[in-house]
């Protein structure tokens, strides 16, 4: 890249990295109960010092702190984490079509979390069972498909079969669930932020953060891991150990996210593509910018759901409905070599 092109790319990267902070503040004002920017400012001040702004209604504080803040933080965290996870998996498997679905991670996590919710109740964190079964699912896919690098179709088919198996197990869990739990399960599986609570965040956010930090630190290494295994080994990488590390981090992210928001499709798949098209393939940029773009898109999607429609569309359906056509357009426009 020439100097001018490089500085333009740097400027664009800074814009994307700042965008989530702006959207975070905007999102706090959006919802069925409108709070103006001025009202938001006053409410924030009243939270910091309740005595200084006695005129702020307590309902504003409750809406902000108990409903919107956890929901927006969750949207940011999940959007960022799934996008970082997607970028990492695509680099690791040297294939831009790989995602957490193909590897069975999502279906394993969904089954584990549902199993936990139905049989152990909400008191027991669903993240644990979600992670355990996500590991089982991805382990099964990788062991059965063998050397996936050279046989993508085998990986794809194995992923479909393992996903179908865990979907069947999930149906079995639903069969045993009470009608009330079944309704909640149904809504959760479609991907929803409406159930966001501070309690869920306390458990999932640290887990998501661990996964994201690990992948962020490994971001340059992902470049090397995106070479063929033989090349990476010759370059001095302990390929097996580092593959396990990346898969463990992405599985942790997906399990922690799925346990509270259900399945958010396509986001982690599309965001890295968009970012690579703008900034090239270097994961030193792709990983952090994907996190920012993923968080931003998730907040925008949630703002539209909360602000525009009078009823709540599950965000997983929304991301899929918007994401798939965007992906198809990108696929058509894209060059044969994936940026």
């Amino acid at each position: 890249m020439s100097g001018q092109k490089n500085s333009r790319a740097r400027g664009l990267a800074i814009f994307f990295l700042v965008l989530p902070l702006i959207l975070f503040l905007v999102s706090l004002t959006v919802g069925s109960y409108g709070i103006s920017p001025h009202g938001l400012f006053k409410t924030i001040l009243s939270v910091v010092s309740p005595a200084s702004h006695p005129d702020v209604p307590s309902a504003h504080r409750d809406i902000l702190l108990r409903i919107r803040l956890p929901r927006i933080l969750l949207a940011m965290a999940v959007g960022a984490a799934l996008s970082v996870s997607g970028a990492s998996l695509q680099a690791l498997f040297k294939n831009p079509l790989v995602n957490e679905y193909i590897l069975g991670i999502s279906s394993g996590a969904a089954f584990g979390a549902a199993l936990s919710l139905v049989f152990l109740g909400r008191a027991f964190p669903p993240q644990i069972a979600g992670f355990v079964f996500a590991v089982v699912a991805v382990g099964a896919v990788l062991l059965i498909s063998g050397k996936a690098e050279s046989h993508f179709i085998t990986l794809l088919l194995t992923g479909i079969i393992v996903t179908a198996f865990f979907s069947a197990l999930l149906s079995l869990v639903e069969f045993f669930a009470s009608p009330y739990v079944l309704q909640a399960l149904f809504f959760w599986l479609m991907g929803s932020l409406s159930l966001a609570s501070w309690k869920d965040l306390y458990i999932s956010l640290p887990l998501i953060a661990i996964g994201v930090v690990v992948l962020f630190l490994l971001r340059w290494r992902l470049n090397v891991l995106s070479m063929s295994d033989e090349e990476a080994r010759s370059l001095g990488v302990n390929v097996l150990r580092e593959k396990i590390l990346v898969i463990a981090a992405t599985t942790l992210i997906t399990a922690a996210a799925t346990a509270i928001v259900g399945i958010i499709g396509w986001l982690g798949f599309i965001v890295p593509h968009l970012v690579r098209m703008m900034f090239g393939a270097d994961n030193r940029r792709v990983v952090p910018v994907s996190a920012a773009v993923g968080a931003s898109l998730m907040m925008i999607a949630d703002d539209i759901i909360r602000g525009v429609s009078s009823f709540e569309i599950p965000i997983g359906i929304f991301t899929s409905l918007v994401g798939i056509p965007v992906f198809l357009v990108l696929l058509k426009k894209s060059r044969k070599v994936w940026l």
């Binding site: 490994l218 995106s226 070479m227 033989e230 010759s234 370059l235 302990n238 994936w338």
Partner: protein, 252 residues
């Protein structure tokens, strides 16, 4: 750095490599030749420990390669593949920088020194002006040079090049060989290349290794070992070597 092979065995389901004793001298160019399926690339990958090798079968300066950690091994020996599959389209400078992986912790970013080493390597192969281009924009010959630059950035003393000139036109083929010679002379690299062109092999190498059916048939100084009878035995066809203005040509 010298390489010593002792009773090396590696098996695929339908092919096995067996090398009892073989040694490669320091700062020399050795050409490994033989028909398709002879085991040239497998030998090269074993020498680079890209394929799993048993302990006690491969020694570099007396150190058992199979006992070394990945990063230690990569600082001694580097395998240069024939082609790079450009799934992700990196800038040339970013691609060459990956040669520094064995000097960088998995959780760290390359330093200024790493970037400098990569830039020097790219300059050595004559492609400094391509640093900001993308890999997909390069010709096949230029990509080979970039692969060699990445190997140079790795700063290992032994380079194992898998058919570095296949599919290249005569001009680029000659350029690659000139570079290989320059690396042996100026950088004191021990270089092993697998080749199909016998004329190129004998012209540009100091030593030759002839392979067939997963075994070493003959090895020695190129000028001494390159004979009609050996070629006929290795390739199972009639071949005749003729001298033309100091160069050896093979008639078949």
């Amino acid at each position: 750095m010298s390489i010593r092979v002792s009773n090396l065995k590696f098996a695929y389901p339908k092919f096995s490599l067996r090398v009892e004793e073989l040694a490669f001298e320091s700062a020399k160019v050795t050409a490994i030749v033989g028909p398709n399926g002879a085991g040239k690339t497998t030998l090269l990958k074993c020498l680079g420990a890209v394929l799993p090798i048993p302990k006690g079968s491969l020694f570099i300066e007396g150190r058992d390669l199979a006992s070394l950690r990945s990063r230690e091994r990569a600082r001694l020996v580097c395998y240069v593949p024939q082609e790079h599959d450009t799934t992700f389209n990196y800038a040339v400078s970013d691609f060459v920088l990956m040669g520094r992986a064995s000097y960088i912790s998995p959780f760290a970013l390359p330093s200024e020194e790493d970037a400098k080493a990569a830039a020097e390597a790219l300059a050595f192969v004559g492609l400094a002006h391509y640093a900001d281009r993308f890999i997909s924009e390069l010709s096949s010959g230029e990509r080979r040079l970039v692969l060699i630059a990445r190997a140079l950035a790795q700063q290992s003393d032994i380079l194992l090049m898998d058919e570095p000139t296949t599919f290249l036109d005569p001009k680029h083929e000659t350029e690659v060989f000139q570079l290989v010679r320059k690396l042996a002379v100026e950088k004191m690299k021990t270089i092993l290349v697998t080749l199909h062109s016998l004329e190129m092999a004998v012209q540009h190498s100091d030593e030759m290794v002839f392979m067939k059916g997963g075994e070493v048939v003959a090895s020695g100084k190129s000028a001494e070992v390159f004979e009609d009878s050996l070629l006929e035995r290795v390739y199972d066809m009639k071949m005749k070597i003729i001298d033309w203005e100091g160069r050896k040509l093979v008639l078949r």
